[in-house]
Amino acid sequence: MKSDSFSSNHRWLRTLLLLSVAVSAADVSVAHAQGVLKIGMTASDLPITTGNPDQGFEGYRFVGYNLYDSLVEWDLSSATKPSVLVPGLATSWHVDPNDNKRWIFNLRQGVKWDDGCPFVASDVVWNLAHLTDPKSAQYYAAEAAQASSYLTNYASSEAIDDHTVAITTKRVDSLFPYEISYILLVSPCRAKALNYNWQDFANHPSGTGPYLFSREIPHQEMDLVPNKNYWNKARIPKQDKVELFPMPDPATRTAALLSGQVNWIEAPDPDSARRLKAAGMQIITNTYPHNWDYQLNFVKSPFTDIRVRQAANYAINRADMKALLDGMMIEGYSTVPPSTPYYGHPVEYKFDPAKATALLKQAGCYPCNVVFGISSSGSGQMQSLSMNELVKEQLDAVGFNVKLDTMDWNQLLAVGRNGVDKYPNLSAINISHQSQDPFDALIRLVSTSQWAPHGSNWGHYSNKDADALITQIYGEFDAQKRTALLAKLNELMNVQAMQIFVAYDVNPRALSPNVHGFVQAQSWFQDITSVTISP
């Protein structure tokens, strides 16, 4: 009887074991499918495919710049130097010598949309109307919304010939190539063939990018396949396929990577990163223009006093913050990372609690009551709650009395957008921001013309010297001279301690050991065409 029972159990166990092995084998075959890059994104949904994507810059990173091109693009080939602008669908560009508000773009010849139509200058004009002219047949509000911040200075465009287009700006704007780099161009042929039905276009997108749209299962998966006819032969994708999965929960992404369901995940949190490393995964980080800081209230005290602003900066122990994040940050002393060409030589407020306390006493703000608007989480907010708690602890230690006003991410965005006038009781807000180009990194934060709600200068900072510098920057078309002016602006912002500088994110991502050839550029965008997956 005992023997029968054992034998029966044994058979049962054997069956279970065989089943486990079979299932595991099936999983492994899925995980190691030859040449398929499977990416777990942080996005809560798949980005839209009708041109400029949603889901923040992650949408641009994986869908936008893969399906489409812009006239001017970002060099993503180096991990060691900051990403700079390079020719995209335009091979060169210059400002019209007779009209410094008119930009001439010479277009790349021989490029075809993936629907077979040739890419010509009128397509660029058509695309700009698609994004800015509500009266045009091709206008699409959702896309116009996505592109709106990059076209605030756009006035008009014209095709000079098939391969030359002129774009006129509303005011003199030497930074226009940066702005146009965010504008992704879609095929007019496909849009017309679909009678401007953008829902259909989303399922049959056509661009000139290195990948072709293969399929989308709403909210679950989007597949891209290589565009073998891509105009940039050096960037024809080396994988068979890219599969994109929205996985907003970090624990889910980690589990998916560890179980082999994906072989690449974005933004593992520091705790998971330790575990992933132990499991043999590659954790890749790099400097990139992502600033985690506080924008200050310049209308109502106490941050109207420069000594209080300086005190707050001296109070931050960035090394402790780095330890909190298990090393996954770079200590922040300015709005741009030190590798930025226009970093200059800004004054750096190194941790000095005694000096901070002395400054507060001098300013007559001791204890110094402040309220910070923060979010519990949010796109790019890193480990928002624990980081803010540590900042509070450090500021309180030198004589501040910080109250954290925690709100939902969308609410904080609304606070940021509406500006200090609507929220005078907030002394500062913590909305991390990208600082990839000079406008986003510096100008929008300090220019008087950018006061919220018209722009992103939340706290209504105003400085005649800064405004004068900005006018010079916009009017300076010599890149080297402009860089020097931008460095001067950055230095001025630091002298003014116009933010509480804390950290730069390092853009962590975790890759399976069998993923090779990825170069992590110092950019929000990345080139995945070079990635291969070994069996």
């Binding site: 911040s149 953008w198 999965f245 929205p246 929960d249 889910t252 589990a255 998916a256 018209h454």
Partner: protein, 317 residues
């Protein structure tokens, strides 16, 4: 029959009421329906143009009436965030959640009912304590946490089942009868089944104990009926209460679990609801709340009818 029509007719004002409350709540909540559509640094002028294009510049009451008019014509509108028809979004999400519910609900019903009956048969004894403890465990444990633990055990430590996602089930297919699809459903279905199992077990126990204490059971015993026959009578009498609880649990499950579906990246109604809230996607939120409230109403209607069928005494009431 008249009763059914009356109940159905009552469902309509309930749905309208729910939609009004939901519409108002969305606007009272901080944030803006266009937050996710326009970049965070869009200017006020740009936002004004986009608001006009989406119709958000109209007074709230007008916006609501326009929406209601469309709904009465069977059009739930277009999602702001996804640009897809709301009816399509909600329909797909319902089917996806139904796939999980079709596994979770029968499991919860069979296990919970069996646990409840077993506990009630031996009140105060060890079995009762164990079952009641397990039921409380199921109700109290956060199901998303259980989901994460299940993933760690069955997807990471022993890679038997997928950690997340849903198999790319072909449109029109139920996707439950082949292992390649089913294996994606097991862990989320277990996570979802926990709470209903606990609730059904506790309700069944209470209902059976209640019936057992009634005079007619004493009469049956006095008449010399065997325990099996008595149990049959008791279970039948306890059934209406259990049906009511099961119907409610079915409604809850069809509403999906935002957390469980997020942990498993399962594109069901809970996920969609969370997505709509997070994105302040008013048309999507309105559509899904309306449909879910109708499901609740219809489920309860069916439960009422079943109760009457099982216990004719209720007809008199």
């Amino acid at each position: 029959m008249l009763g059914i029509f009356r109940r159905l007719a009552l469902a309509f004002p309930i749905a309208v009421g729910v939609s009004v409350v939901c519409f108002a709540l969305v606007y009272i909540a901080p944030g803006d329906p266009l937050e996710t559509v326009v970049p965070s640094d869009a200017t006020a002028a740009t936002i004004a143009v986009i608001k006009h294009a989406y119709g958000f510049d109209k007074p709230l009451a007008i916006q609501y009436l326009i929406w209601l008019g469309r709904v009465l014509h069977g059009n739930l509108g277009i999602s702001i965030a996804t640009n897809r028809p709301v009816s399509l979004e909600v329909g797909e999400a319902l089917v996806n959640t139904l796939r999980l519910v079709a596994l979770a609900m029968p499991a919860a019903l069979i296990i919970g009912y069996a646990m409840g009956v077993a506990a009630a048969r031996y009140p105060g004894r060890m079995l009762d304590r164990i079952v009641s403890g397990l039921a409380m465990f199921g109700i109290s444990l956060p199901n998303y946490w259980v989901g994460v633990v299940l993933v760690i055990v069955f997807a990471v430590q022993w890679p038997l089942l997928p950690a997340t996602g849903m198999a790319p089930i072909a449109p029109g297919s139920i996707g439950m009868f082949n292992w390649s699809d089913l294996r994606f459903m097991i862990l989320p279905a277990i996570s979802l089944a926990l709470i209903p199992t606990g609730i059904i077990a506790r309700s069944t126990r209470a209902a059976v104990l209640d019936v057992l204490s009634q005079d007619f059971v004493l009469t049956l015993r006095a008449k010399g009926l065997d325990e099996e026959a008595i149990t049959r009578h008791v279970l039948r009498n306890a059934l209406p209460q259990v049906i009511a609880v099961v119907a409610l649990q079915f409604g809850y499950l069809m509403g999906g679990s935002i957390l469980v579906e997020t942990v498993f990246s399962w594109p069901g109604t809970g996920y969609l609801l969370g997505y709509a809230i997070q994105n302040r996607d008013v048309p999507l939120l309105q559509g899904i709340v309306l449909v879910l409230s109708m499901i609740f109403v219809v489920t309860n209607l069916i439960a009422d009818l079943l109760q009457v069928r099982v216990d004719p005494r209720l007809r008199r009431g």
